[in-house]
Symmetry: C2
Subunit: 210 residues, 2 copies
């Protein structure tokens, strides 16, 4: 399989974690987001959204959208599971994953921030926008997992929710949105950062890291 | 069960379609988005994100995030399916659903447009932002389903992708982003608009419609 990604893309990072959790080795194709390589004609043939990541399977199928790719990996390589068997538990985990993937990340990603800069909005206001969206979203995530067992967001093993959390907290750090006062998220991030799959998937370990 | 929604919320609309497809009758609790009722303390106890929809189950569980709710409905009430059995087909359908739910809707929703108006950005620029995001996103969706069979996005019956498409096209119309030249989307919307579950779930049929 071949993963099209970029070391700092949150969505590609999620899929890298899932691949490492499942023990799947893939080839990597790098597309430099800041240089706009994801809009190159060749890549648009693979992924008409012009977004990262895409996963080319061994059968030549191209999968897009990080959460769809993670669910596909979970369905085709069941162990270790990214989602448990119980439908209610699955719904709660997916809700946190989607709270990050729909309501935080898209509103603070490179594309939106570039559009704000083009208005033009001063850099301080752009950074403030990102910081506000991230902080408010992560506070809600803390509330969504309140009362549950750690150290990961949903217990003793990482799930789909944790693999969305870690890249989002990476963005939180870049934009100065601390999570020190959000104890469940802080504990989950610490557990993830000690887990070999998360370590191997981290941006600074990738072939295109700067 | 009890659905917390608002007639014009795209995310609540998706869940209403899923409920009607599954033949599940629910009680409705309305929260007026433009009056900010989704931020009322009582509702924040149910849904810490302060977003619509939420679904209270008969067991008293509260589910959030429209796509997580739809997947839960599909897992607990399998017929008719929102996703087929084949993993690759599921991944393609989820990718279109997520292309709308992550990459179009959050970047043009009420909250983001309100933030743009508060910059302050003139109304024409705010509307232009929404129109651009929607048009670009729907063009990519058209490409994602190119070559497939209709009339729905993925064949003869509606799937999770169609129930994301219809509310998004509702927004496209409101913001003046026509889809007449996107034949697969246009055909799918026509098929949906003739389907009783989609008709029953439409905003103008809801108890809080204005």
């Amino acid at each position: 399989m071949r993963l099209h990604g970029y070391f700092r893309s949150s969505a590609a990072w999620r899929v890298r974690i899932a691949l490492h959790l499942k023990g799947v080795a893939v080839e990597h194709a790098f597309h430099h987001l800041r240089k706009g390589e994801q809009r190159a004609p060749d890549y648009l043939c693979l992924n008409p959204q012009g977004l990262l990541p895409s996963l080319e399977t061994d059968d030549g199928a191209v999968l897009t959208q990080s959460l769809a790719i993670c669910e596909w990996l979970d369905e085709t390589i069941p162990a270790p599971p990214l989602l448990p068997g119980d439908a209610l538990a699955r719904a709660r985990i997916r809700a946190v994953a989607l709270a990050i993937a729909c309501d935080i990340h898209p509103v603070q990603n490179l594309k939106v921030l570039a559009a704000l800069r083009a208005i033009p909005l001063p850099e301080e206001a752009v950074t403030g926008w990102a910081r506000r969206v991230i902080r408010e979203g992560l506070e809600a995530c803390e509330a969504l997992v309140a009362g549950g067992e750690g150290p990961f967001l949903f217990g003793a093993a990482p799930t789909l929710a944790d693999l969305c959390l870690v890249p989002q907290v990476g963005n939180a750090r870049r934009f100065g949105a601390p999570i020190d006062d959000l104890p469940r998220l802080r504990a989950a991030v610490a557990a993830c950062e000690a887990h070999p799959a998360f370590v191997a998937a981290s941006p600074e370990r990738q072939g295109d890291a700067e």
